[in-house]
C-alpha cells in the first residue's frame, strides 16, 4: 500500500492523505447532527468507521481472489454475499413466517437467473474481475427488491388480514384470496427500479458508467456497460421480489387455506 497518489491508465487515484481529507465532510455532517440534536452522532461515526474497515477488508480480499482464487473463489464470494443479503432482506419481513429462508432463496433466484443469463449469452465474461463486481451489483438489486416486497407483504398481512379472510370465507383458495395483496406489494417494490431506469443518465451518472469514464473509457463505450447494468439490476430486482412473494404465500397459508396466526396478530378472543 502506498501513501502517494498514483496514476492508472492515465487516471489519477487519490493518495491516502487525500482520502483522509474526505473525513472533513463527515465532520461537517456530524456537526449538523449535533447542532440539530438528532441523536445520531454515534450511528454516523459507527457507519463511517465500519464503511472504511469493510472497504479495506473487501479491497484486500478482492485482491487475493483476483490473484489466487479465480472463478471458484469469485462464485464462493457471491454465494457469501447472497447469504448476507438474505439475512438483511429477511429482517425487513420480520414477523412473517420463515422470512430469512424466503429472502435468501429469493435473492439467490434473482442472482442465478440474471447472472446466469448474462454469463450464458456471453454478455458478462467469467473473468473474476468482471464476474465478482457484476455479481455484487446483482446481489444488491435482488436484495433491494426482496426487502421492499417483504416489508410491504408484512404490512399487507397485518392491515389486510380482514380482507384476506373475507375472500377465504367465500371459499376462494389462498392464492386467489391473497392475489390483490401480492400485486400491491409487487407494484410497490418495482416502482423504484423502474423510475431509476427511466431517469438514468438524466439526473445522475450511474456508478458503473462513472467508474469506466474515470478509468478513461470513452462515454459512448461506457454506456454499453451501463445499459447492461441497468437491465440486469431491474431483472434481479423483479425476480427477487417475485420469488419472495410466491414463496411467502406458501409459508403464510396452511393446507386448510388459512392465514397463519402471526405472533403480532394473535388477537382473536
Amino acid at each position: 500500500m502506498t501513501l502517494a497518489a498514483g496514476t492508472i491508465n492515465g487516471t489519477t487515484v487519490p493518495s491516502w492523505p487525500e482520502v483522509a481529507l474526505s473525513v472533513l465532510l463527515v465532520l461537517a455532517a456530524a456537526a449538523v447532527i449535533l447542532r440539530t440534536r438528532l441523536g445520531m452522532t454515534r450511528e454516523l461515526v459507527v457507519a463511517v468507521v465500519r464503511a472504511a474497515v469493510q472497504l479495506l477488508a473487501v479491497g484486500a480480499l478482492l485482491g487475493l481472489i483476483f490473484d489466487h482464487a479465480g472463478v471458484p473463489g469469485s462464485l464462493a464470494w457471491i454465494a457469501a454475499m447472497v447469504l448476507v443479503a438474505g439475512r438483511v432482506a429477511g429482517g425487513r419481513g420480520r414477523g412473517l413466517p420463515r422470512s430469512m429462508y424466503v429472502a435468501t432463496a429469493a435473492v439467490a433466484a434473482g442472482v442465478l437467473t440474471t447472472l446466469g443469463t448474462l454469463v450464458a449469452v456471453g454478455t458478462v465474461s467469467t473473468k473474476p474481475t468482471v464476474l465478482l463486481p457484476i455479481g455484487g451489483m446483482i446481489v444488491n438489486g435482488a436484495m433491494q427488491g426482496t426487502s421492499l416486497v417483504l416489508a410491504r407483504l408484512r404490512d399487507e398481512v397485518t392491515d389486510g388480514r380482514r380482507a384476506v379472510e373475507a375472500r377465504l370465507a367465500l371459499g376462494l383458495p389462498a392464492g386467489q384470496a391473497f392475489a390483490p395483496h401480492e400485486r400491491r406489494a409487487m407494484r410497490a417494490a418495482l416502482i423504484a427500479p423502474i423510475d431509476q431506469t427511466k431517469v438514468v443518465g438524466l439526473i445522475s451518472l450511474p456508478g458503473a458508467m462513472t467508474g469506466l469514464i474515470i478509468a478513461g473509457v470513452s462515454p459512448t463505450l461506457a454506456i454499453r456497460y451501463q445499459i447492461v447494468v441497468m437491465y440486469m439490476l431491474l431483472g434481479a430486482w423483479a425476480v427477487g421480489s417475485l420469488v419472495a412473494t410466491r414463496l411467502m404465500r406458501t409459508t403464510l397459508f396452511d393446507e386448510a387455506h388459512r392465514l397463519r396466526p402471526l405472533e403480532s396478530l394473535r388477537s382473536v378472543a
Binding site: 373475507a166 375472500r167 367465500l170 371459499g171 386448510a256 388459512r258 396466526p261 382473536v268 378472543a269
Partner: protein
Amino acid sequence: MPPLFAFEGVTVTRGVGDAHVHPLSGVTTSVRAGVCTVVVGPSGAGKSTFLRLFNRFEDPSSGSVTFHGNPLPSYDVLDLRRRIGLLQQQPVLLGATVREDITTAVPELDDAAATALLERVGLGPEFLPRDTSSLSGGEAQRVCLARALSVSPEVLLADEPTSALDEFASATVERTLRGLVDDGLTTVLVTHDLRQAHRLADDLVVVVSGTVVAAGPAEQVFASADDDRARAFLAGAS
C-alpha cells in the same frame, strides 16, 4: 332431528409451554338448522374463536366438530366455506363498485342475479354501479351480506355484524338478518348486545371464560339458566 353442527369436548389452545392459553375449553353444544342461534358472552370470552371453528378458520386442539353428522375436516375446506358464509364484524369491501364486490367469488354472476341479491339485503338495483367508497356503514355491511349470499350458503355466520354501525344502520342490518332467518337461512350470530340477542335469538348459547355455560331455546335460557355464571352475565349485562 340430528343437529346441524355438534361440538364435542372442543378445546382450542394457542401458544406453547407456559405461554399457552385456552380461548375455548371443553365446549360441548349443538346448533339446529333453520334457526338463528345467538352466541353471547362478555368480551374475551371466546365467542369469536367459537365462530371461527364453524368454517375452519380455526381447528380444535382437541375434541370434534361435526356438520350434518360428519367431521368438519372430512369436507373439502373450500366447498365447506361456500356452504358456510361469514359476515364480519366490520364491513370489508373487496371491490371498487358494488357489482365488483358482490361478484368477487362468482364473477359470472349476471346483473339480474346481482340485483336479486341486493334486494335480499334491502338494497335497490341503483346500488349495483355505485362506488363502494360512497357507501354508508350500514349499506356497506349489507353489500358484504349480499356478497356472502352470492355463493348460496346454507349457513350464515355473523360476528358482531352491527357493532361498528350506528343505531339506525344496526336496526336495518338486524331486520335484514331476521328476514333471512325467516326465509330458512340457518344463522349463527355472535353479539355482546343482549337486547339484540333478545330480538334475534331462537336459540341462545352463553359463553363465559371459554366455556359454554348455558345453551338451548332462547326464552328458556333467558328465563332460567341453570349455571350461576350464565345467570350473572344475563342479569348483569341486561
